[in-house]
């Protein structure tokens, strides 16, 4: 198990990442090597990042998500943000200067069906 997150293979090349309280978004480098290893060993083509338990996305957290998206692109994995809370979507939309580079979906089921939105 990776520190600060639960990473679960949910079939069809999809991986589900559920961040926990131990995640430190200000130090993305700490997770990159291990995460890449797991994604590659599982043969993942999609990483679903579950924001259900995330009450706020500040600049640091957003930078972490962009960083993770860049990593996914390098490893040919698609990052999809799922289960974003309405309050989080609201505040993030208010603060963003540019559209986010990652895809978004309402929840895991939708993402698995391929129903995603690209904002960029």
């Amino acid at each position: 198990m990776l520190r600060g997150m639960h990473l679960t293979a949910i079939g069809d090349g999809n991986m589900l990442l559920e961040p926990t309280d131990g995640l430190d978004p200000s130090s993305p480098d700490e997770y990159i090597a291990e995460l890449t290893e797991v994604l590659q060993s599982e043969g993942a083509h999609t990483l679903m990042y579950d924001l259900k338990q995330v009450p706020l996305i500040d600049q640091v957290y957003y930078t972490w998500l962009v960083y993770l998206n860049n990593l996914c692109r390098l490893t040919n994995v698609e990052l999809i943000i799922v289960n974003i809370r309405t309050t989080v979507a609201f505040s993030l939309a208010m603060s963003l200067k540019q559209p986010p580079p990652f895809k978004c979906s309402l929840d895991v089921d939708r993402a698995r069906q391929g129903i995603t939105i690209t904002l960029k």
């Binding site: 974003i84 989080v88 979507a89 559209p99 979906s105 309402l106 129903i115 995603t116 939105i117």
Partner: protein
């Protein structure tokens, strides 16, 4: 010599005496005036006028009896003021105007001041003290009534504003998973916040996949309004739904172009029906005419 009779009495006591000697005529005059002002417009019944007059007299006597000087923080004085705020509230609820009620209060004050004229025993100073006391009491009452009126007006305006906000941005599910949001008027920051809150909740609740935002009813657009529109489209996308912007009239398009607003990442269609067609295409829904004769 008679004028020295009241020298040691407090102003309150003088007023009580004055009041007691003329209570019958004062009550009658107050009742009559109450009938004239409130009964003719069906704001109060004759019985209610009598009850209110009686309660007012009792409360006033209690205030005057409470001490030699009126304690404006005392419970008796507060009770008198509360009586008038409740009274004016009732008049307002029944459709009465502030003007009518203030006229009534001024009349009450006049009745007491006229009573002074009939008492030959009062010195100039005593009359002045009583006059100031009566004026002070009725000024406080008038201010309270005015505040009640203002509060009620503010509540009404707020309720109307809330209703306008709700009705001017109705979010409707016109198809399974398709929400429409016609925006009418202007989009300021506070309205954007309330629309976004409602819209994002509806996306989550209805599990909407497409939101068609129609701006046919938007009168004018500036950089702030366009910025709010883009924020709304982004928030919709973050929720995993597709946003389609429709109803961009030529003058709005010209304004957006001159403002150098980048709508590259926003899907736009000319009309609401075009937007709906696009939503159907996105959802993989095909519609066709049914030949009724067949």
């Amino acid at each position: 010599m008679t004028k020295k009779k009241n020298d040691n009495k407090s102003t309150n006591k003088i007023l009580i005496e004055l009041f007691m000697t003329q209570v019958g005529s004062i009550t009658n005059v107050i009742d009559e005036q109450g009938e004239k002002i409130f009964v003719k417009d069906n704001l109060l019944s004759s019985d209610e006028i009598k009850d209110y007059s009686l309660e007012f007299m009792e409360l006033l006597v209690t205030v005057l009896h409470a001490g030699d000087v009126i304690d404006r923080r005392g419970v008796e004085y507060k009770a008198l003021r509360r009586f008038f705020t409740e009274f004016s509230n009732q008049i307002q609820v029944r459709g009465g105007s502030l003007e009518e009620f203030i006229r009534y209060i001024q009349f009450l004050q006049k009745v007491f001041l006229e009573g002074l004229e009939h008492d030959a025993n009062l010195t100039f100073n005593e009359s002045r003290e009583v006059l100031l006391l009566v004026a002070g009491i009725f000024n406080d009452i008038s201010l309270d009534v005015f505040n009640v009126y203002l509060e009620e007006k503010e509540r009404t305006i707020q309720a109307q504003q809330d209703e306008i906000k709700q009705t001017s941005t109705p979010i409707t599910e016109i198809w399974d998973g398709v929400l429409t949001l016609p925006i009418i008027g202007t989009l300021d920051s506070s309205r954007t916040v309330s629309v976004m809150e409602n819209l994002l909740s509806r996306i989550e609740q209805d599990r909407a996949r497409v939101v068609v935002m129609d701006i046919t009813g938007v009168v004018a657009i500036d950089s702030q309004v366009s910025h709010h529109l883009i924020q709304m489209m982004r928030a919709i996308g973050l929720m995993g739904a597709k946003a389609i912007l429709t109803g961009i009239r030529p003058d709005i398009a010209r304004a957006l172009t001159s403002l150098n607003i980048d709508l590259d990442d926003v899907m736009t269609r000319s009309t609401l029906s075009e937007g709906l067609k696009e939503a159907f295409i996105y959802l993989g829904i095909e519609t066709c005419r049914v030949d009724k004769k067949a």
